[in-house]
């Protein structure tokens, strides 16, 4: 096995992941990116999506929402508002949230209220990301 990189996922509710992994794939603001061991110092914002990491044959996925990540000293740190493993996601709730967000989006399309639309869009993204991660289990 080659070199590993230390992955840390920190949320306001505490550290979620803290382990050595082979590769990390993350949803960067400008597109997904992968980080291997000894990556150059790097800082990127993270959007709502799926964070995947591999350790040997083990593959784990997390749903992450907005934040940023920092790579330095062979360590990758994610600071995100929430991070949930597939097994922790309440699929039913995500489904409901998705429906709710879609309904709101449809409503917002008729009005010109930008703020509400944006909120609904974000909620929809979160719901979709949750459902995606939970299906990857």
């Amino acid at each position: 096995m080659g070199q590993q990189i230390r992955l840390e996922v920190v949320t306001p509710a505490g550290a979620k992941v803290n382990e050595d992994v082979d590769i990390v794939n993350a949803p960067g603001f400008g597109g997904d990116f992968g980080v291997l061991a000894n990556h150059a110092p790097f800082l990127s914002t993270i959007k709502i999506g799926t964070l995947t990491y591999e350790n040997g044959n083990k593959r784990e996925s997390l749903m992450v929402s907005g934040g940023f990540c920092e790579v330095s000293n062979n360590k990758i740190t994610f600071l995100v508002e929430s991070a949930e493993k597939g097994s922790e996601i309440d699929v039913e709730r995500a489904l409901k949230a998705k429906e709710r967000a879609e309904k709101r989006l449809a409503q917002a399309a008729q009005q010109t209220e930008n703020f509400n639309r944006k909120r609904a869009e974000v909620a929809l993204q979160r719901a979709l990301a949750r459902m995606k991660v939970s299906s990857m289990r």
């Binding site: 920190v10 949320t11 306001p12 509710a13 505490g14 550290a15 960067g28 603001f29 400008g30 990116f33 150059a40 110092p41 790097f42 800082l43 990127s44 914002t45 907005g66 934040g67 940023f68 920092e70 330095s72 740190t77 600071l79 508002e81 929430s82 703020f115």
Partner: protein
């Protein structure tokens, strides 16, 4: 002197109050532990965040970020974070007192003041001033990051629209279980952090930024507001329970003291009654002789 029965009911009443206050003390102690754990859990996030923030703002140019814009201060918004419930001693009163004092100071300086109240107690007490722009009630019991985000988004929108030029947060700083002091944190315009946090971990600014530093800052700054507000809410949460614990402890002690002095009165009254009865009997017996 109060009648025997009166004193007896009073003692029973005080004892019941003591039971309630003692239970509240215990509940507060349990909740305090939960709130403190939440604070502990948040600490790594906050400190990491601050390090990155100071790394970034150290290198970045401060002009051109609407949230960093320093304007001539005409209106000041005070975000007052209090608890939803009372019975926690002077905790909320102290925060309100500070809020009113700051309001008076700003008004003397010719600035307009508005309040955003988080927590029921604050909005109840500050409503009298007629300057409350918005209040968030009943979220202190079980708040989450998204509550903080909602508040931060609203405050930022106000700032960006030019309705406010400066925003400060007032909250109860959790110094220790025994002491909570009202504190003020600066919120907007965002000031480049420097100094203390930086010494913790110093990086050269040799990062690859994706997207550009400016764009990262655009994302980070609203997050930064969330972090400050969430942090203040956590502190208030913990402080509230600590303050209630102390208050209820004091109340229980006061009840005990009252029971003690009431018992003395009761015993005295009983003794007096016994003595006068004895006197009667002795007097009656004397008369029969």
């Amino acid at each position: 002197m109060a009648s025997l029965k009166e004193v007896k009911t009073k003692i029973a009443g005080v004892k019941k109050t003591a039971q309630i206050t003692k239970a509240m003390n215990m509940v507060a102690a349990a909740r305090l532990r939960g709130a403190q754990e939440k604070m502990e859990a948040f600490r790594p996030y906050a400190s990491k965040f601050n390090v990155t923030m100071s790394n970034l703002s150290g290198g970045a140019n401060t002009t051109g970020f609407p949230l960093m814009e320093i304007r001539d201060v005409k209106t000041v918004e005070l975000v007052v974070i209090t608890s939803d419930r009372g019975l926690c001693g002077s905790f909320n009163a102290n925060i309100i007192k500070l809020a009113l004092k700051m309001m008076a100071e700003y008004e003397i300086a010719g600035k307009k003041v508005s309040f955003v109240c988080v927590g029921k107690k604050g909005s109840q007490l500050l409503n009298k001033t007629g300057k409350v722009r918005k209040s968030y009630r009943d979220i202190m019991g079980n708040f989450q990051m998204y509550n903080a985000r909602e508040i931060a988004t609203d405050i930022a929108a106000q700032f960006l629209s030019g309705a406010t030029d400066k925003v400060e947060v007032l909250y109860g700083h959790f110094k220790s279980v025994a002491s909570q002091i009202p504190a003020v944190a600066h919120l907007l315009p965002v000031q480049p952090t420097s100094g203390e946090e930086e010494s913790e971990k110093k990086f050269s600014g040799d990062y690859i930024y994706e997207p550009s530093t400016e764009e990262i800052m655009d994302v980070l700054q609203p997050l930064y507001l969330n972090v400050i507000i969430y942090h203040a809410m956590l502190e208030v949460g913990a402080s509230e329970h600590a303050a209630r614990m102390t208050a209820m402890d004091n109340a229980t002690n006061a009840c005990k003291d009252m029971v003690k002095s009431l018992s003395i009165i009761y015993n005295k009254a009983r003794q007096a009654a016994v003595t006068s009865e004895l006197m009667d009997i002795v007097g009656g017996a004397e008369a029969l002789k």
